[in-house]
Every structure is written in structure tokens, then in C-alpha cells.
């Protein structure tokens, strides 16, 4: 009877010690198991399936707030008619831009090599282009400054290294990479407090960012049962389950409900 107590305590101790550092240890464990998994069981591109759809906002679209760029006249010059925030951008029928749609469950232990292509994020007109970017862990990221003014790129991850580099105008692109999955890393420029981007880092290549038509497309998906998640920076996440067979094309639409309040983004 007493030995049982001791065992329970020991197990609890171990569980809680692991649990205390769950996020990071989980990543380490996943990485460890991923590298030890059989690469031959990666994925079968011979019968790729496609999931496509539209992400919509069901409700009133919050108006963008006007941004004052007086802090930097060089920025102001590039926007003589003014700029508004881009937290929630929706078209006339509620189609949401900048929503990341991705497979969140169902890929099991499969590993995926990062694409050899670099993704590019540009500082143009004192804004990040694109505003929302999705990429794979360990994939190359190129940061370009196309403005006549200097910026500093300051990602604020919780599951990756935080860093902060200055990029004066005319400097070559900065190369960076993120080692671990994180959805999503906010990026800010301290000099221009209204500038904000989100970089989502995935372990796999099944993600898509919606354009102005609210449309996404997940290609080359192996057949199986998945949970597909849509993430928007202010509206949160919406999940849906999906089973797809080989060479199938399925449509999966997402609907976001508006929030009562969207908080105050740093604007000035």
C-alpha cells in the first residue's frame, strides 16, 4: 500500500518535471523522434491530394485604424494619402486576407526536409511585405530593405531564438532561419512602431496563406485524416477535420466569427 504511494509520487514527480518544460522539451522530443523516424515513410507524392477553400469573416469587418508616420518623414513621403492598420483585412463578401491555413494534426511522425528555396520578406514603404508569412523550420528567410530609411528586424518568438538586427538602407539582404515550429512569430521594427509582421514556422510544407480573395490551397497532401486549422492574427483559430483520399480534391471553407474587441495594436 505504501509502496504504491511512493510509486505514484515518483511518477508524478517525473511527469511534472517534464510537464514544467513541456513546450521546449516537447519540441526537443519531437525533433529527436523525428530524426530517428524512417525517412522512407516521408510522404507519397505519387497520389497527391488537394484541399482548397475560402476563409470568410461572418460579421462586420472592423475598420482599419489610421497610422501616423510622423516619426519618420521618409516613411510619410511614401504614403501621401495615409495608411491604415492591416490586422483584419476582409473583402466585400467577408473574404479574409492573410489567414494561414495549415495541417495541424494527422501527419504523425513524418519528417519533411525544408524547401531549398528562400522565402523573402521585404520592408517596403515602411511596412512588411508580406504582412503574414509562412515557412518551414530551417528554411532560409531573406530579409530585404527596399526603403530609403533604416529598419531593425526584431522577431519575438517564444519557441525560437529572439534576435534583433539593424538593416540600414542599401545593405544586402539579411539571411535568417528558425529552427522550431512556431505559429506564429510576431516581428516588429522598434524604430517604426506600427510595423508588424507574423512569421509562421512549420515542420511540414502543408500550409497556405490566403490572398485578397480569401482563397487557400494545400497541395501534395498524402491521403489520410487530418485536422486543418485556419489562424488569423486577431481572430484566433478555427479547426476542421478532414479525410481525403489519393488524388482527391476537396473544398474546405472556414468561417471566423468577429470578436467583440480587437485590442489596440501599437499604431504610432
Amino acid at each position: 500500500m505504501k509502496l504504491k504511494h511512493l510509486l505514484i509520487v515518483c511518477v508524478a514527480q517525473v511527469v511534472l518535471t517534464w510537464g514544467h518544460y513541456d513546450k521546449h522539451m516537447g519540441a526537443t522530443l519531437a525533433a529527436a523522434s523525428a530524426t530517428s523516424a524512417n525517412p522512407a515513410a516521408a510522404f507519397d507524392t505519387s497520389a497527391p491530394a488537394i484541399v482548397t477553400g475560402v476563409v470568410r469573416l461572418d460579421g462586420p469587418v472592423p475598420a482599419g485604424k489610421s497610422i501616423s508616420m510622423t516619426k519618420d518623414p521618409a516613411c510619410m513621403k511614401m504614403h501621401p494619402s495615409g495608411v491604415t492598420t492591416e490586422d483584419v483585412i476582409a473583402g466585400s463578401n467577408g473574404a479574409l486576407t492573410n489567414v494561414i491555413v495549415y495541417v495541424s494534426e494527422g501527419l504523425g511522425d513524418r519528417t519533411f526536409d525544408p524547401s531549398g528555396n528562400a522565402v523573402v520578406i521585404e520592408q517596403k514603404g515602411c511596412r512588411y511585405r508580406p504582412h503574414v508569412l509562412a515557412m518551414q523550420a530551417k528554411q532560409k528567410l531573406q530579409i530585404v530593405n527596399s526603403d530609403p530609411t533604416s529598419h531593425n528586424i526584431h522577431p519575438l518568438p517564444t519557441n525560437n531564438q529572439e534576435w534583433n538586427k539593424s538593416q540600414p538602407p542599401g545593405q544586402p539582404p539579411i539571411e535568417a532561419t528558425f529552427a522550431r515550429e512556431e505559429i506564429a512569430i510576431p516581428v516588429k521594427c522598434n524604430e517604426h512602431p506600427w510595423m508588424r509582421a507574423y512569421i509562421a514556422v512549420f515542420k511540414h510544407p502543408f500550409f497556405s496563406v490566403t490572398g485578397t480573395d480569401g482563397r487557400f490551397e494545400l497541395k501534395n497532401l498524402p491521403s489520410g485524416t487530418y485536422v486543418v486549422t485556419a489562424w488569423q492574427e486577431k481572430l484566433g483559430s478555427v479547426e476542421q477535420k478532414l479525410t481525403i483520399g489519393a488524388k482527391e480534391t476537396k473544398t474546405l471553407d472556414f468561417v471566423f466569427k468577429p470578436r467583440r474587441s480587437y485590442g489596440t495594436a501599437s499604431l504610432q
Partner: protein, 275 residues
């Protein structure tokens, strides 16, 4: 006593012990010079000296944290201002050791130099124990600091041009007073307001006071703050020019606060009033 009650109490004990011995759960190795750590003693040093500000869990939520500005460091994020390694990297053991000994000027972090060297090494182990990053990563190689060339007016002039070109004035201001156009809206990585360094106070920097320290500050960046790294933007020669120029900004009548200075207004305030 019932089995359920006993089990609940013992689970509670296990939880408390685990939470409170969190730093020990991942034992850290520390090496500074010829000294190595004693983690158990480090925990005692931490409890005696550090808990009040940095908190039991090392997350900067000590009881005094609400009253302090700048806020105490959150060790669980493993993001540190004063490093010799490039931005994004963990600090070296000696970085932590020296920061603890030197203290952080113009903040509530005292200089813990009065502690013995062994005590400081021990508490470095305790600090590292709060974040698993120290287990999972190694610090990058430190940024090399080449020998300092002699100060010359040509170098200072080049440094001044660099200050303009790199747009340091955006935050630090044209005269280095910390009053640049972007200064008033700066926030640190936890979205708390933060002010840029005012060179005209003539004070020590938060991460040192020598020219080498100044070189290191803008080459490694102060992680966790808006101060970025300029490692990829300047050559070492240019960096020394910038150091020599920045030192010229540090001349100020307030440098040595005497009684006389306390009773008269500082010169830059006089200027503003007379304008």
C-alpha cells in the same frame, strides 16, 4: 487516513517540491576561469539575494518587480542584454558572471562584486537552470573585438558620419540625448516602455563602461530591447570610429553631480528655455 487523502497530500508535496526545485531539475554546468559551479549552493545564493526581484521561478516576477523600472530579467526566456555573443545567441558563462559582478547601472540590479567569486559562479548555475535553452543550445562564438586603434579626429569624424548613416539618431537623437523621433514609443520585447541611452549623462552603460564594452554593445545588440546588432553593417574599423565618436557625446556638465550642479538647471534645459 484514506488512500485518496494520502495520495493527494503526497502529490501536492511532489508538485511543490518539483516547482520549487525546478532549477535543480536540469543541472547546469558552469565554468568561469578555474572555478566550476555548485548548483545546490547556487540555489541558496539565489534565494538569499535574487528572489525578491527575479522571483522563485526566475521569471522576473519577484515581489518587488511591480515597483521597479527597468524590470528584473526573466531568466526563463534566456534572452540577455549583456553578452559577448552575437544577437540571438545564449550568453557565455563569463557574460553572466560579469553582469552579476558588475551590476546593471541605472537600474535596481546591484553590483554583486562583494559576493565571493565562488558564490557568483554558483548563482550563474542557478540562473541557467531556469531555462531549458541552456541545455538544448550552445552559445555561439563571441564577437571578436580587435585591438583598439588610437583616437584621432579623422576617426571621430568618420564615426559621426556613421552615426548619421546608420540612423542611430532615430532613437538616440542628434546629440545622443535619447530624444530621437522614435524614442518615445520604444517598447522592449515584453511590450513595456523603454528609453534609449542618453549619452550626455556621461554615465556608465548598462553593460559596462570601457570602450571595449561600448564596441560590444552595438555589435551584439542588447537582446530583449529595441537596440539591434550592427555586426553585419559595419567593419571593425568603422566600429572603432563609432566608439570614439560616441565617447564625444558623453561630455556633459552633469557628469559629476556636485552640489553646485544640483541647484542650477542643466545646460540643455537652459537652452530649451531660452529658445
Amino acid at each position: 487516513m484514506s488512500l485518496l487523502k494520502t495520495t493527494v497530500i503526497e502529490m501536492l508535496g511532489a508538485i511543490l517540491l518539483t516547482v520549487l526545485s525546478g532549477p535543480l531539475a536540469l543541472a547546469q554546468e558552469v565554468r568561469v576561469g578555474d572555478l566550476t559551479e555548485n548548483a545546490k549552493q547556487g540555489k541558496e545564493v539565489y534565494r538569499r539575494y535574487c528572489v525578491g526581484c527575479h522571483g522563485q521561478l526566475g521569471n522576473g516576477q519577484g515581489e518587488n518587480a511591480p515597483h521597479l523600472d527597468p524590470k528584473p530579467r526573466d531568466f526563463t526566456a534566456a534572452v540577455f542584454k549583456c553578452r559577448s555573443t552575437p544577437t540571438g545567441s545564449l550568453p557565455l558563462d563569463t557574460d553572466l558572471f560579469e553582469t552579476i559582478g558588475r551590476g546593471i547601472h541605472a537600474s535596481a540590479m546591484p553590483s554583486w562584486y562583494p559576493l565571493t567569486r565562488q558564490e557568483r559562479v554558483n548563482v550563474v548555475a542557478s540562473v541557467k537552470g531556469f531555462s531549458p535553452r541552456f541545455h538544448e543550445e550552445k552559445p555561439a562564438d563571441p564577437v571578436p573585438i580587435p585591438p583598439e586603434p588610437p583616437t584621432a579626429s579623422a576617426g571621430i569624424a568618420r564615426g559621426k558620419q556613421l552615426y548619421k548613416k546608420l540612423e542611430c539618431w532615430k532613437c538616440h537623437g542628434q546629440e545622443g540625448r535619447g530624444d530621437g523621433p522614435s524614442a518615445s514609443t520604444l517598447t522592449d520585447s515584453k511590450d513595456r516602455p523603454i528609453v534609449p541611452y542618453d549619452f550626455t549623462t556621461g554615465e556608465r552603460f548598462k553593460c559596462g563602461q570601457s570602450n571595449q564594452d561600448l564596441y560590444r554593445i552595438f555589435m551584439t545588440g542588447l537582446d530583449g530591447t529595441p537596440m539591434p546588432s550592427y555586426l553585419e553593417d559595419v567593419t571593425p574599423d568603422q566600429a572603432w570610429d563609432l566608439v570614439h565618436f560616441l565617447r564625444t557625446l558623453q561630455v556633459s556638465p552633469e557628469k559629476h553631480m556636485s552640489l553646485r550642479d544640483l541647484v542650477r538647471r542643466p545646460s540643455h534645459v537652459e537652452e530649451k528655455l531660452n529658445r
